[in-house]
């Protein structure tokens, strides 16, 4: 139901009254029907499912999403993983407790 991949429009033509595009998927070239995205232009990206372009890919959205992921990674680097930090503290506490008990 969901295998759709992002492709770039390289050519557009009418074929038997149907709007078709030649799309490039990272070096793989395939004919795709553009009837559902009639204003998609050459150079733009769309997700393609079973030979149909179904939705435009928004470059700005993609960039912002990746930025968010990178930010989360930086936070983790800076402050460390709170989960891991808590467990480390716990372990130290336990060791210290054992030391005290051993005296």
């Amino acid at each position: 139901m969901c295998l759709a991949v992002p492709g770039r429009v390289t050519e557009i033509e009418e074929r038997d009254g149907t709007r078709m595009a030649v799309m490039d998927f990272g070096g793989v070239v395939k004919d795709v029907c553009l009837e559902y995205l009639p204003d998609l232009a050459v150079g733009e990206y769309a997700i393609v499912h079973v030979g149909f372009a179904l939705q435009r890919l928004d470059e700005e959205s993609a960039r912002r999403t990746l930025e968010l992921f990178e930010e989360l990674g930086l936070l983790q680097e800076e402050f460390g993983d709170p989960w891991e930090a808590a467990r480390a503290a716990e372990a130290v506490g336990t060791e210290r407790g054992a030391e005290e008990a051993g005296r």
């Binding site: 139901m1 969901c2 759709a4 770039r8 009254g17 559902y36 990674g73 891991e84």
Partner: protein, 377 residues
Amino acid sequence: MKYLEEFRNPELAEGLLADIRATVTRPWALMEVCGGQTHSIIRHAIDQLLPDEVELIHGPGCPVCVTPLEVIDRALAIAARPEVIFCSFGDMLRVPGTDRDLFRVRGEGGDVRVVYSPLDALKIARENPDREVVFFGIGFETTAPPNAMAVHLARKQGLRNFSMLVSHVRVPPAIEAIMDSPDCRVQGFLAAGHVCSVMGTAEYPVLAERHRVPIVVTGFEPLDILEGIRRTVRQLERGEHTVDNAYPRAVRPEGNPAARAMLEDVFEVADRAWRGIGVIPLSGWRLSPRYRDHDAEYRFDVGGITTCEPAACRSGEVLQGLLKPHECEAFGTVCTPRTPLGATMVSSEGACAAYYLYRRLSVPVVPLSAQEASRVG
């Protein structure tokens, strides 16, 4: 491939995972509806990375798995007819009907052809005017607009020898049915990203509100799935239950209006049986009366079909998240990907096949006597 590789970058996964770990304080059960998401999770072993508190229940998002047995048997009967060229997506070829599958029909002389797109089936119809070309139109809302276009073009171009056997299913009624089930454990949903690319998000707020579950529209690459999980867990921890779009690069609230307009024209909503689950009201689409001339159900009289599921197959319970595959007695013994009892073991993203592949290593399998597993007539 641009817009793909970046969302498979393992270096960015750790930040997402750390945030999930930092947020979660108690166990949560999430369901991903879409089979493509299940496939990605298994393929990249993403669920192995999640903290133990986060459980993923694989939902009935595999159209292969949920196509009713009766429809499969009907397809097999049509495909076996000498005048028919039966065209199908590859996924359907190994799905077991009552006593055979499309591969076997091909072995017995049926002309069964795998196509990548429904437009390929139209081309075959054009090139074979003296044969009946039937296309097996299955899928969720993502595949419905392509299938609709094929029927629309067939009528427009006067391709009288082209017809479609339609068995489309819709996600929102499935979510409703799962939440209404008395044993339901699902607390949050990862909604199917590409379904929403077509349909938009308008159908989901009422479900989130009525059942008090967060619904996060999620993509398919590993980072997208982790992000969907992250946002769902965040909502759950905060006691929120809203619809959130974690796949904005490919999903707009309004979806694709041109596609939805075609769906309105070509299909009408109907009750649909889901294999293993039963009838879910208004959960499917069939061809509207306007397109009856291209409806394979009306064109071919294949007589009464008596279906028979193997008694031991519990895929229905698995599809609803009520049973884990390895808890089924037939799992891994009588029922394997090579010898499947039901569709959840056949399809590469059916929950049972998925579990078979990665759980085999750690989960003990309880043998079932062969007699108990045999079909009841």
